[in-house]
Amino acid sequence: MLGVTMALLDAGRFEWSDFQPRLVAAVGRWEAEHPDGAGYRYYERWTEALESLLGDRGMLAPAAIDERAAVLARRPAGHDHGHR
């Protein structure tokens, strides 16, 4: 999601100052719910922040992501991509 975020920034779809507060909020929410910090996955916080920004800006609705993720989930094993 870092590559995707940087590409969006590069294309001028939003500014870093639009994204970072959402990342901070996503991190803060997770930490408030998990005081011991166990199981923290930064990648998930980042993805959450990006989805929230894209959704609020009308660029990509969460429902569209839900639908597409469900389609991908039905794919046979071995096609999954790495972190981008």
Binding site: G3, A7, A11, V24, H34, Y40, R41, A69
Partner: protein, 199 residues
Amino acid sequence: MTGGTRPHDYPDVALRAEALESLLVERGLIDPKVVDGLISRYENDVGPMNGAKVVAKAWTDPAYRRRLLADGTAAIAELGYTGPQGEHIVVLENGPAVHNVVVCTLCSCYPWPVLGLPPSWYKDPAYRSRIVREPRTVLAELGLALDETTDIKVWDSSSEVRYFVLPERPEGTEELDEEALAALVTRDAMVGVGKVPAP
């Protein structure tokens, strides 16, 4: 599982990320070749080896060192290291009396042009909260035992500023050229969780 809402477990997050990327590409919001190029850049071209060159130059060129401490962004840009997260870099000078260490308490802010992407431990809640509360203990756990007389200053990158540590030059390196010096400089020393080891 049929129907209902899928819980956001880890494997599902990876699927959502892939879904997100493919939809953005389909809608013309990003170009996958640009994504590939950026990933490749941050895997190969941008990393601590850049910061190490900045440090080695500062150690061997007193005028550069002064410029670096006065305006980190500009001095780092002199070596060609610019780009995202490098818009405002402040360089902290470590010495025997004062040891500076960097954190981003709120997320993972890091000076990408000189250090590349941050390691997992830097992003982890434990480091981010404990380094502020008990720096001497955390540094000792990370292998850096500092004298009680050394003042520790913790710098939080949670704003527009990205901090970068200029570590002390180790003993026994007088004969080394810039390239050899750069090879000694570790990422950890430039974050402040280590010192540059003597050769």
